[in-house]
């Protein structure tokens, strides 16, 4: 949309547009670079001739990836994790946010629950005790180690709770008069009205599950059980950690385009779902986080 006629476009406006375009490009360039690298020939990548466009364009890296069953094992673990973990997060976030959004006069125990939740969010036993609990429950090397410890995303519960609280009171009062109980109120009124906020928190929890690497690294022992990000982490990051000498870099050269292709495929799901949910989350966050 162009500015209205009375607001004339001046030189500073054009300058501003250019500056903002530059900043936006900076966000995009590293991603463009890795895509180009993944589509480039080995020798061009090794010689550092790839910049923003692929050199010696080839799909070889992607074809090579098809033969890597470890990549697909990990991909499957991540998909499973997102589906199971996301579903658990989705249900529990709504179920917890709804009663906690009630006024104290309506639900006396509300503050007690909130104290427990906020306390566990701020204060925890740390890495070792957390690991031991999961080990003692025999969750190690199962999908449940990746989905159950984060079953309640507390930050999301608070976002959605604040969203529920900002819904007009008149609607719930009218529904109560019509004889609707808590469950009916939740499913028929609050959830449909809060769809933008629910879409937001669902996006957050799905992205968190897709992006998590640490729990996969310490809770999964078998290679076939590790999620995709942990696999990428082993592949891309750890060789570099050992590559303290320049000569070892040479070994990694041939891997550069392969690794680039795996990185691209790993971020692809985010790039695909993000634009569809993006329009919801801005209103979801700002309505949920700042209370006037």
């Amino acid at each position: 949309m162009l500015p209205s006629a009375k607001q004339r476009i001046k030189a500073p406006d054009i300058l501003l547009l250019l500056l903002m375009s530059f900043i936006t490009l900076l966000c995009l360039l590293p991603l463009v670079y890795i895509v180009s690298l993944s589509l480039s020939g080995k020798s061009a990548a090794a010689a550092g001739r790839v910049t923003l466009f692929p050199v010696d364009f080839t799909f070889y890296s992607y074809k090579y990836m098809l033969s890597d069953h470890r990549f697909f094992d990990s991909f499957a673990v991540s998909v499973k994790r997102v589906l199971i973990g996301g579903a658990i997060n989705f249900a529990l976030t709504i179920l917890m946010a709804f009663p906690l959004a009630k006024e104290r006069s309506e639900f006396k125990s509300r503050n007690f629950y909130i104290w427990i939740i906020v306390f566990t969010m701020m204060f925890n036993g740390g890495l070792i005790p957390w690991y031991m609990v999961i080990k003692n429950l025999h969750l190690i090397d199962t999908i449940w180690a990746l989905t159950l410890p984060t079953a309640v995303p507390i930050f999301n519960v608070i976002l959605l709770m604040n969203f529920f609280r900002n819904l007009p009171k008149e609607i719930s009062e009218a529904a109560t008069v019509d004889g609707a109980g808590p469950w009916r109120m939740l499913l028929r009124i609050s959830v449909p009205l809060a769809l933008p906020a629910i879409a937001t928190v669902t996006l957050f929890s799905v992205v968190n599950h897709w992006n998590a690497f640490f729990d996969g690294m310490i809770l999964m022992n078998k290679q076939s059980n590790i999620p995709l990000q942990t696999y990428i982490q082993q592949l891309v990051v750890q060789p570099v950690i050992s590559a303290t000498t320049r000569s070892e870099d040479l070994i990694n050269f041939s891997q550069r385009t392969f690794n680039a292709a795996k990185i691209v495929v790993t971020m692809l799901p985010i790039l695909v779902i993000y634009p569809f949910l993006q329009k919801y989350f801005v209103s979801g966050i700002t309505l949920g986080s700042v209370k006037e």
Binding site: S21, G48, L127, G181, F214
Partner: protein, 296 residues
Amino acid sequence: MGKKSNALQYHLMLAPGMVFIIIFGIIPLFGIAIAFQDFIPVKGITGSKWVGFDNFIYMFQLDDSKRILFNTLYISILKMIMQVLVPVGTALLLHELVFNRSKRWFQTIIYLPHFLSWVILAGILTDMLSAQGIVNKIVKGLFGDTVFFLGSNFWFPIVVVLSDVWKEFGFNAIIFLAALTAINPSLYEAAEIDGAGRLRKIWSVTLPGILPTIVLITTLNIGQVLNAGFDQIYNLYNPLVYQSGDIIDTYVYRIGLVQYQFGLATAVGSMKSLVGFVLIFISYRLAAKYANYRIF
């Protein structure tokens, strides 16, 4: 009577989530006992020897402690400053932009890096910053030699702070953009009548308008000062830059799960948790008092 049965339904709704919170949030708290033990996993908490505050005393005597605390504070305070300045600047630029359609495009793209993991970004960064990467190509063209960014104790914290800004500035701008749109338009009209130009309006109307939000965000960030970003640093660092890059969380991971010093790791971790808890408590109190902020 209706109210009572409602309350029962509410308890039922909360029950499944509370079970998980108790198992994975409350029960691990008892594990802090390990910090007071010479913990041996096969013997468990009940069988291991109690050593009182030995782990804590050892922690304070460690040469590493000062350096790690310094690194943690240094990196996280730099991040904190940059993550207010850059997003505020971005929000101002977007607010001043008169081309509305391009504004939406810009926003969509600058939020995107927030949703990519540090594993992915570290993969991209390590390649870009390697000797043959695109960044060093430019550096070589300008200065004649390559820089080993991720192997230098001088460059490493800078790379950490700048890449963090790169990833999060767009997303962090959201809250400031929201504050900007809430400014009363009549203030701008009044300023215009008084003869204020564009810069004057930014200085006298826009900035004061979002100042409370800036104060609020800064206050809330103080509570997070001991979190310098585990995912990011773990994925970017290597033994060459432990000197400048080791933070509390990466250190706990290394001494705990790599070197198996469970008692010491838990002591360091619980100390961090305790100090962090106090800081968050204070910062929320301040936010409530001066910015009228409540999380619920």
